[in-house]
Symmetry: D2
Subunit: 249 residues, 4 copies
């Protein structure tokens, strides 16, 4: 089987360098182009890139996507700032290039994405569910966006299964002890020197509990998810939002 | 919606009592018959049971199933000792009663079943996978059957995904330090006074890990899984082996 | 070495039965008297009891202690309701019987007591400290008394070491997400079907964390701590409050 | 109170840079000298250094120590290669400079050192004890030196308390499933892509367990322990081996 030919945009940035290294050490992928500020996108076409990875900036990502889609190159995109209007523009370009795939995802940490998916699947089998996230103390928001998203997924699954509120006989509680409620699901945020980014979802039923825990140890933890995207994006024509749709679970 | 009418076989035994209590406190289920040694199975028909639960003994379970299937009663079975021959006999009875469902499962602890399923699903996204189980020190075998089964599921998923051996540079190892290899997956067994039954599957990829952990705190942890079976079995005609097939994940 | 002769008060109650069983299976202890409602305390003297265990009731414990102390029998006491006035009365009896030891403790779960002690010892070495407790959903108060006590011990140790507030850059927080502050230490309470009583203390410093976790799996987890008390109480004349004082750590 | 004046040897190396940064951001310490290959040690004296940190190399550390001790400068040393002969040489220098303190330690990760100390203290209260360590898959030895050392500490504490072998009814075991025995304590080694260095000690007694867990998230986790050494070494004249002796627990 031939290797997939991969181009990386923003290749000189910190994130881009990690992606370059990830592609270079992955089986079945060949890095054919590294593009950074000032480089012509034509480099991608000349090098025969089949898939590009874009973790650049909101100001340039739309130009990148227009060029790549119109040249038949599929795209794996971690850049932020996609409004519904921007997504519709992308859909328009794809309508004219129906064989091209584009994956746009807010979170490529595959362990975090799987945690959210498994939590949704498990939710209806357990009376109780709570989320605890732990991050370094420089984080500005609490709880994390991922924890909120996880709790909402659990709440949706409980609602669909017709489940009522969680059992909780608490009568005397100190303010904040029971966390913050996200759509009925308690979420607790820990801020801890020395840690990076961690989340655990705990489910409880009679005589048992199930815990799904995700630990990020460094800032390159998005790389394996990007590689999943690169390997799959050509098989998924059109626009896909969220890495979870590529995982077939 | 009408309640499902449930009969419990072996209702006076320790396990049967837990099931009786579980049915009695569950929404949507009504206990209509408790049958124990010496009681006539006709009690089930007279009470209008739609589903029975059988955690009895290998010597009596086949008679129980023949009677129930022939009377149009679906069956949730945790009794052991089902050989391929016995399963074929059950399939024969079901062929004559195609609307009846029978679920036979070796493990109704839903947190353990979900751990195995999620482990299979996650396996192909991670370079490394190991299983650690922990049980009370009176257990005779190590590792547990569940841990072996979990490891085999991971190994199968890795094989299907075309993955090679796990990264492991160990050169100097004390005997046993790296666990036992089940189909290439290291499994570690801890025996610990005071604990019950616990299993954690750890997956690792660049910069991150995912842990799926199951804790059983007491011997009634099979009840929620039995209730899932009772609610579903009438919708799944024919023979199903393994609770995981009812979970739609 | 001769066995210690032990008497159990309230021996027929649920807690008393667990203590009787614990003494009977322990090395170096011999159960010589089981006393329950209606029995004469003279039984203890006749049987030669050297140490008694009292998990009875506030209404009877003072009479029990007066009798035992005056008869030279040391006492391990888990009964509640000891006011400062009651403690002074006990001290008065002990003044007349200076060789007798009495241990009164609110918590005999040795894993919980050790968690509190280790947390106090570790606190001054870490920038961050938080406490998470998890209990069954029938618990009325949140957080648990043990978690509050643990947090206070950490706060005291930080204060003694001249440490300032914990690092926490949180600017946007949903109400309750960061737990409740006990003397500056965040405490989070999880209520989870199927669990029993669990507590984890997490400490963080540059590049590392230390977690001390206590799990109670059933309601007999006080027994090992009671046995520590029984073995030690004769060597510690006078009144001791709190099992931690017997642990020599 | 005046700041302690600190000099760093090997200040330009990767480890040295982390120490320089740690000293610079710590309260109560002032960095007065950075010495690297080719620099004169006289710089330390000229700058008025009271304490030096040496994470250099076996070839140069003895010269460094001789100079510092003879100049009344206390030393915190993480350099390896100290034989008994070398230690005696250091003791000789210290005999002539009795006010100087020297700390030589193989492990400055304070969470790991505390884990070992707490494990020793807890050991005699629990029937069961096992150690699980987890490291990145490039590690050459299994189990880690720290895990072996931890297990030996537990074994010593059990022996001193007159405890027998751990309860373990295992009759059928796959080879390696129960780990390797270090002086009777089972130790399990996990090798996991993405992780760094982690260790958990689990203790079990009737109805409960106690877990002490240490996580190192990056290679600077030795810094907090070095700072403890720097703050204390002037108060501890003579040679001390092992950071645990500075922790007063």
């Amino acid at each position: 089987m031939n290797d997939i030919k991969v181009g990386v945009l923003g290749a000189k940035g910190r994130v881009g360098q990690s992606i370059v290294e990830g592609v270079n050490t992955a089986d079945g992928l060949t890095l054919v182009a590294e593009v950074d500020k000032g480089d012509s996108l034509q480099l991608l076409v000349d090098a025969g890139a089949q898939v590009i990875v874009d973790f650049t900036a909101p100001q340039v990502v739309m130009d990148n996507l227009e060029f790549c889609i119109n040249n038949g190159i599929s795209c794996v995109v971690g850049t932020t700032g996609f409004t519904e209007e921007r997504l519709n523009t992308v859909r328009g370009w794809l309508a004219n290039n129906p064989e091209v795939g584009v994956l746009i995802a807010p979170n490529f940490a595959i362990s975090a994405v799987l945690t959210m998916q498994f939590a949704k699947q498990a939710a209806r089998f357990f009376d109780s569910a709570e989320v605890i996230e732990m991050h370094h103390p420089n984080k500005l928001d609490a709880p994390s966006g991922t924890a909120i998203h996880t709790a909402q997924g659990i709440a949706d699954a409980r609602r669909e299964a017709g489940m009522g509120p969680q059992p909780d006989a608490t009568e005397q509680s100190l303010d904040g002890a029971r966390g913050t409620l996200i759509d009925g699901i308690p979420v607790h945020a820990v801020r801890m020197q020395g840690t990076v980014a961690h989340e655990v979802v705990i489910f409880g039923a009679q005589g048992q509990s199930l815990s799904i825990r995700q630990d990020s140890y460094d800032r390159t933890s998005f790389v394996p998810g990007v590689l999943v995207g690169v390997r799959e994006v050509q098989n998924r024509p059109g626009l896909t939002i969220g890495l979870e749709n590529y995982l077939d679970i």
